[in-house]
């Protein structure tokens, strides 16, 4: 299972970075989304995969004696998802405003303002 997830994570990283290097502003944001998914899955995988071993104390027990899943990676991922959701939503709006103000979605044509003025 780890191997499969490792391949998925690698694929997501590659796809995300590839999309970021395309010229379209929309592909840039898709790339960022893929990148954040890749990282979340990576934390999930590197935290160790276990099946059906919830970290809960059975009734009456004082401490955990058997092997249980580590709940922390999931807490980290949850935090990371919330943060990346907020940041990406902001980025989406920002990129839309850039598109409106520059009038193109081609990143190569978005030049520093002072240069583009002289070329017009």
């Amino acid at each position: 299972m780890e191997v499969v997830l490792a391949i998925v994570v690698g694929g997501l990283f590659a796809a995300g970075l590839y999309m970021m290097m395309r010229r379209s502003i929309v592909k840039l944001i898709i790339g960022l989304v893929l990148l954040s998914h890749a990282v979340n899955l990576l934390i999930f995988t590197s935290g160790g995969l276990t099946r059906a071993e919830p970290p809960l104390l059975p009734e009456g027990a004082e401490e955990i004696v058997m092997f249980v899943a580590d709940p922390l990676p999931q807490a980290l991922i949850l935090t990371a998802i919330v943060i990346s959701f907020a940041v990406l939503a902001f980025a989406l709006v920002l990129f839309h405003r850039v598109y409106q103000s520059v009038g193109t979605d081609d990143l190569d044509r978005i030049k520093p303002a002072e240069e583009s003025v002289t070329h017009l």
Binding site: M20, I25, L28, L32, L35, S36, A38, V39, L42, I43, T45, S46, G47, G48, L72, P73, L76, T79, A80, I83, S84, A86, V87, L88, F90, A91, L94, F95, R97, V98, S101, V102, I110, K111, P112, A113, E114
Partner: protein, 505 residues
Amino acid sequence: MQKLLLVLPIIIPLGTSAILILTWRACRVQRWLSLLGSTALMVVAGLLLATVWRDGIQATQVGNWPAPYGITLVADLFSATMVVLTALMGFAVMIYSLSGLGIDPARESFGYYPLLNILLMGVSGAFLTGDIFNMYVWFEVMLISSFVLLALGGERAQLEGALKYVTINLVSSAVFLTAVGVLYGVVGTLNMADLAIKLHNTAEPGLVTTLAMLFLITFGIKAAIFPLFFWLPESYHTPPVAVSAIFAGLLTKVGVYALIRVFTLLFTQNVGYTHTLILVLSGFTMVVGVLGAAAQYEFRKILSFHIVSQIGYMIMGLGLFTPLAIAGSVFYIVHHIIVKTNLFLISGAVERLRGTYELKELGGLYRAYPGLSILFLIPALSLAGIPPLSGFWAKYTLVRAGLEIEQYVIVAAALLVGLLTLFSMTKIWNEAFWKPLPDTSEKLVAGAAANQNMGRMRVLVLPIIILTLLTILIGLVAEPVLLLAMAASEQLLQPSEYIEAVMGA
């Protein structure tokens, strides 16, 4: 009480911004409340530094979850000093905005002050946390508020700058999170003190060095070191000057702080490799930054490239990795934050008087405003490292540390870059202050005449005077600051006290 001091630098800006949101439309109220908030922050930060100086490293467990399971807030001398500087810069920028000239009314009424306070909270949080994942969260708090501050106003140049800034920072956050995730997979803890213990006895030195490189990349992007600095000169000159001043002073330094923290506390297993790499990068950062500045003719762009070049000096101390060198880095950060923020504030005052940042269109400022010109000259010379100003002592400490362990190449680079910095500052002086005003700029000056209200200008210049006096003061009485830097460096290089404070608290 002492535990409270660790939490207050985070609570005060948060509370201030919460109150500010309630008074959304009342700019005048917001100005004064922000000033009150940043004054309180400064007092608390000062008390925190005094406590750490007197009683050693302070730590508290948030929610009483014992370390290493809960989140720890910890202040050693280095982080307490950084919090003091954060508060000071917040205070200076708040006064600057008080004049009504530092920021335009439209931006002011769209959440400028609440955002500025959130930014201060994020920066203080990043300095005080003892947990590596929590540091990621504070970075994000700081980033999201800086994104909005950068784009606020929505001018075309700003949006283009924000596009680059947001993209590169999101990539850097992804790398940060990757590094934290793998680190947790390898070591099984996120508390930095606990990490320090466990990484020291690690069975996988190769993997740990790889992780160290991931952290170098992510914090390197935030700190704008070579070759990851290109976003900085593309974005820092676009927002209003009050915003770029606080960015220039604080944001990259959070990256430098994080680098120094992880490379003194966590990744010291393979110093020969990691710290030599940092040293080489620092040399390139210095040289490339200063050469970039030489080609520029826009006031704030020159200053932005100089941030990059100065980051090189701060990293140089870390790369040399001796007690004196780390002390030099700490001293340099103290000096740099004060001087750089000041120079940006001055560039803003110049723009208010003349209506432009372009050096070619500026001129005659010395004749018209000799006082402001002297106020520019002092931090500019300090940046270049002219004695007896603060920059001289910072550079002197670093150069001496380099000579002591016979790293002559980096010392030569540091001295050369100092000379080139002087050249850059002379260029600004000649173009903006000394040469007569070009005839073509009459219209610009006339357009800016509305700003030349003496009462408001006085308020605008007040923080500049305060920061300039601080630069002179640090220059004339360098010994206490150097003692502080030496003590901070001792704590950084002997993590046992830090670990004890966190794990025992």
